[in-house]
Amino acid sequence: MENRICIIDDEEVVLDSCTLILEGSGYPIVTTTDGTRGLQLVQESQPDLVFVDLKMPGISGFEVLERIRAMDPNIVTIVITGFATVGSAVDAMKQGAYDFLPKPFTPDEFRLIVQRGFEKRRLVLEAIALRHEKELLREQFAAIISHEVRSPLAAVQQSLMALQMELEDRLDEDQKKRLQRLQVRIDDLLRLIHTWLRVMSVDESKLRETFRRISVATVVSKAVESVQPQAMRKDIEITTSVEPLSCAVTGDEGTLVETLVNLLVNAVKYSHTGSQVQVRAKEQPDNLVLSVADTGIGIPKEELPYIFEDFYAGKTGQMVEKSSGLGLAIARRIVQAHGGTITVDSEPGRGSTFTICLPALE
């Protein structure tokens, strides 16, 4: 794809020299001395890079910049400015211009800034393409997994169940055990796929349709109840405090319970045997703060920025149990759908505290 340039400057000599400098480079260039005409040109020629003089008669360079941004925020803009007005160039950059070109400039300076502008444009377009691809992959992946992978597994599992029933009195104990182990393995796999699908299919707008007023105390007690067996196995005590007991939020009970369960499962997983996990809910003027604190192994500082991302399960060296790396990603999506935030505070060797902030009831 060839790179197009548009130059808008009221000084003809600037336009001429720019065109001359780039002659032979093969870049198509359109130029104009008028801001309004410039906007037309941008619309028609869809340039990658636009140079705009800040000081022009007629509509101002700032307005031109703003309208270009409204047309297509991904067009890279560079302002041309006199030496005395570098200050306004900085203002323009604060509003989204990528760089500035101070007058007078040498051919080399101009060529360099054009190269940098194109490079920026390339990166912008690449980022867009990648984001789009990621989104597409996410959607299609969910569909492919649910049909192409899950169905055969379900068929295998169903047949194993039937076989087990049919062969009840013909298999010896060892054979029965093996058949059972096969089923457990497939169950694990089905559960993993189920979790993946959950991450992919958390549709935030759909989720909001089911929002209603829910009791925080209920969410906490349901979540704690479902994690209790795992906690007991490691002799971990889960303490809860909800203040005030009557506090409520607007949301979806099922998914909020799921979020809290995910946090609690992690807390138990990464806690030392015999320790405590604290769940707290506290009502504040603007939001409701829910936190889960453990005194376990903690999270290294360099990993903190990634833990809410899909499939991130920590470095293998410190994994204590198998993990799909999705629990926190699901939690983050659900909390975001509720208009809230989820953050973590952690110190290796001391433990972690996960905090969910949800907007207070209207």
Binding site: S146, H147, A154, S159, M161, M165, E166, L197, V257
Partner: protein, 140 residues
């Protein structure tokens, strides 16, 4: 002994069908199978079935739903209890975590997820047959 109940399975996955068919036959049910919605609906119209086990995702999409819709329009067929066995529950379940999902396509129906535990399958089939019988007794 009472005459065995007649069940029809409509599902396009032969391996899955073999699995549930074996379980149902072992429990003394008489089982017929149709491997696509078209044959399935024809079988429903011509045969006398006590219960239908219906898959949702068949062919190019949720074609099982079409079978249920057509059944609803037919005064005789809509009395047949339906056990919907589907792999898509994970998408439905997200909206109702932990809740029982009753599709209410026809008078008596219920939804379970693939794969289904043999005991659960037999329980559900039995319960649906019973519910349909009670309903029929009330109507007459």
């Amino acid at each position: 002994m009472a005459t065995p109940k007649k069940l029809l399975i409509i599902d396009d996955d032969p391996d899955f069908v073999d699995g549930i068919k074996t379980i149902l036959r072992k429990a003394q049910y008489e089982v017929d199978v149709a491997y696509n919605p078209k044959d399935g609906f024809k079988a429903l119209e011509t045969g006398q079935y006590d219960l239908l086990l219906l898959d949702i995702m068949m062919g190019r999409g949720a074609e099982g739903i079409m079978v249920a819709r057509k059944m609803r329009k037919d005064t005789r067929l809509r009395e047949i209890p339906v056990l919907i066995i589907t792999g898509i529950r994970e998408q439905i379940a997200f909206l109702f975590p932990g809740e029982q999902v009753h599709p209410r396509f026809v008078a008596v129906d219920e939804l379970v997820e693939k794969p289904i535990e043999p005991t659960l399958l037999l329980e559900k089939v039995e319960a649906l047959l019973k519910e349909a019988k009670v309903k029929k007794a009330k109507a007459t």
